[in-house]
């Protein structure tokens, strides 16, 4: 299966771009990569760019909520962008929009977090 994460750091913001299919199998890869970065206490916010996602199931919801909780503990924010209609539906069902910040594009997400773009 194809799943790829790539990351970029901008000050205290971690930009995570995910590509391919996010299921239980690939969720562990995403968790591993992001949590390694969260070991650095200077990382305060996460932007999750889901533009390249071609599939997601409830395992994706779990891994996103898990990172959200970790950021809450350090007063950080999780902003999601590039959400496709099918992923949007899952987020809605799980009530994720009540806790997450959603923006259309990564540039907007950066602005939301006070980063000049």
């Amino acid at each position: 299966m194809s799943f790829m994460v790539d990351i970029e750091k901008r000050n205290n913001i971690l930009c995570v771009r995910i590509h391919g299919e996010l299921d239980h199998h690939s969720a562990s890869e995403l968790r591993r990569v992001v949590d390694a970065e969260l070991d650095d206490p200077a990382t305060r916010h996460i932007i999750l760019n889901a533009e390249g996602l071609t599939f997601m199931d409830s395992s994706g919801i779990g891994v996103i909520l898990g990172r959200y909780k970790k950021l809450q503990a350090r007063d950080g924010k999780l902003v999601v962008c590039g959400v496709s209609p099918p992923v949007h539906r899952l987020f809605e069902m799980a009530g994720l929009f009540k806790v997450l910040n959603v923006e259309e594009r990564e540039s907007q997400a950066l602005r939301t977090l006070g980063e000049a773009v």
Partner: protein
Amino acid sequence: MKNEMQIQFSAQSQNESFARVSVGAFIAQLDPTMDELTEIKTVVSEAVTNAIIHGYDENPAGTVTIAVHLEEDVIAITVMDEGGGIPDVNQAREPLYTSKPELERSGMGFTIMENFMDEMNITSVVGKGTTVYVKKQLSKNKVFNH
């Protein structure tokens, strides 16, 4: 048209995508919409993931079985495991309920399956295993019939 298939595979997480692709390739002959295809792949992914994680505790010696039956524009899918079973099916069906929060499960699996399909039936016996049956009528023919 009538058609059926069955797939069986060992309880390993890398087989989740194989299961989705296989079922997707099989139902493609009914010419579902992109949305319907996504919904069915998601449902298969949820049920198979549950069998692997909850049924077999990710023990690869376990076998997951999927049976798909097509008749006209109706798709019926059964996902079976011979794993640990569900002690309380009503509780399991509740949105956000999960017995494995430590694995960051969201508890949304059954809710998604129920939402994406027309019908869902769960049969489970503790120590024997779980069978999830889901059914969906594709919209296309409904449109043309009116």
